[in-house]
């Protein structure tokens, strides 16, 4: 399924993001032990962070669901009066649907031929 694929991408991205954060913390503590001055993070950590951020964003966008059209009329264009006229609160049931059901028993039979 497509969604599990995107879910995997998201988790991969998040995991990689966490890994980058952990590496940064490790780097800081290493500098502290060896007594060096902190200037900036090594470029591989920065690149990993940025790539995994975009990876996560890509995955999340696809998981979040379908995008909707921003114009109000577009969604209505495909609707027809057939569905628009249905009002669930006002359904009534004495129509021919009754006669079509498998359990239907006519109440009385007129004496016509078969």
């Amino acid at each position: 399924m497509a969604s599990s694929y995107y879910r995997a991408i998201t988790f991969l991205g998040l995991f990689s993001l966490l890994h980058a954060a952990y590496s940064a913390a490790q780097h800081r503590s290493y500098l502290r032990i060896t007594g060096q001055e902190f200037t900036s993070l090594p470029s591989d950590i920065i690149i990993q962070g940025i790539i995994s951020l975009f990876l996560t964003m890509y995955g999340v966008i696809h998981i979040a669901g379908e995008f909707k059209e921003i114009r109000a009329t577009v969604e209505l264009e495909s609707r027809t009066w057939e569905t628009q006229k249905n009002l669930p609160s006002f359904y009534i049931f004495n129509h021919r649907g009754k006669a079509l059901s498998p359990t239907y028993m006519p109440e009385y039979r007129s004496n016509g031929s078969s």
Binding site: T73, S101, T103
Partner: protein
């Protein structure tokens, strides 16, 4: 079919109010019922939907199953009580249904759903006038209920009270100014009412409907017929006549183009369509 596809279809129908009752019951029985536990909280919504649909096609066995599950889960709920009312209605025991609905209304005065159900029962009994009276009373309090306005419009149409039906439709229009179907419907009501003024209004509403949704061929036909009618009227001023004539010609051209696109060029059906449209034109001018 996978159960999640069935769920998506049913969800879509629920959101659009599609009344595909037989298909819905079949989907439920064949695919979704064994997997119902996977639906989570949506399970109960689906059960309610299936229950209503089952009453609709008189599958009382399915409906009572759903009802049992729901009423054991939510005892004392108004929504479930309404399903029981539906059950009585499906059995055509209308007096019992009315009594039950009245008791529900008494229990919770502020709930809109049982009041609407009461109107539906009256309608099912064929007492349209009483249903209209009841619904108007209801709308005096719950005056933004769009479903109710639409139903009142339908009821008035049954009684051929077009002016009042148009009023209800306008109410819907106020809340959904972007819905082409409501514009189209209002135009149709005005068109049915007849007379020069109404015809002119109908023409404008058809135009608006077409503008909101250029795929709506019904309103294109409406533009053609109403503007031809306006042009033929004796009350029409000459400048307006010219404008209406232009409009009807334009609409006719659009319709023709539409059919040509759909059918491919040089189709013989197109010729007969043009002939028929000519007839329509003749009819509308003579009427």
């Amino acid at each position: 079919m996978h159960w999640s596809e069935a769920r998506d279809i049913i969800r879509k129908w629920r959101e659009e109010n599609a009344r595909n009752s037989i298909e819905l019951v079949e989907l439920w029985e064949d695919i979704l019922k064994p997997k119902a536990y996977k639906l989570g909280d949506e399970h109960y919504l689906v059960l309610e939907q299936v229950c209503t649909a089952a009453f609709d096609c008189n599958r009382l066995d399915v409906a009572t199953d759903c009802l049992q599950v729901l009423s054991s889960k939510f005892p004392g709920s108004v929504r479930i009580a309404l399903l029981q009312v539906l059950h009585l209605e499906a059995l055509e025991r209308y007096d019992d249904a009315l009594n039950l609905v009245d008791s529900i209304i008494k229990r919770d005065e502020t709930n809109a759903a049982p009041r609407k159900r009461r109107v539906a029962i009256l309608k099912a009994q064929g007492k349209t006038v009483e249903a209209i009276k009841d619904l108007s009373e209801y709308l005096k309090v719950f005056m933004v209920d769009q479903e109710a306005w639409q139903e009142l419009c339908e009821l008035y149409l049954c009684e051929q009270e077009y002016g009042k039906a148009a009023f209800c439709m306008e109410e819907l229009l106020l809340h959904n100014p972007h819905n082409h179907l409501y514009h189209q419907r209002l135009a149709e009501i005005k068109y049915t009412q007849g007379g020069f003024e109404n015809m002119d209004i109908a023409r404008l509403y058809f135009c608006q409907s077409y503008k909101l949704n250029p795929k709506n061929i019904r309103s294109l036909y409406g533009i053609f017929l109403s503007s031809a009618n306006v042009a033929a009227s004796q009350k029409c001023t000459s400048s307006k006549k010219k404008e209406a004539n232009q409009l009807s010609v334009w609409a006719l051209k659009q319709i023709n183009e539409r059919y040509r696109d759909a059918r491919g060029k040089n189709d013989e059906a197109l010729d007969s369509l043009e002939n028929n449209l000519g007839l329509l034109h003749l009819n509308s001018t003579t009427s």
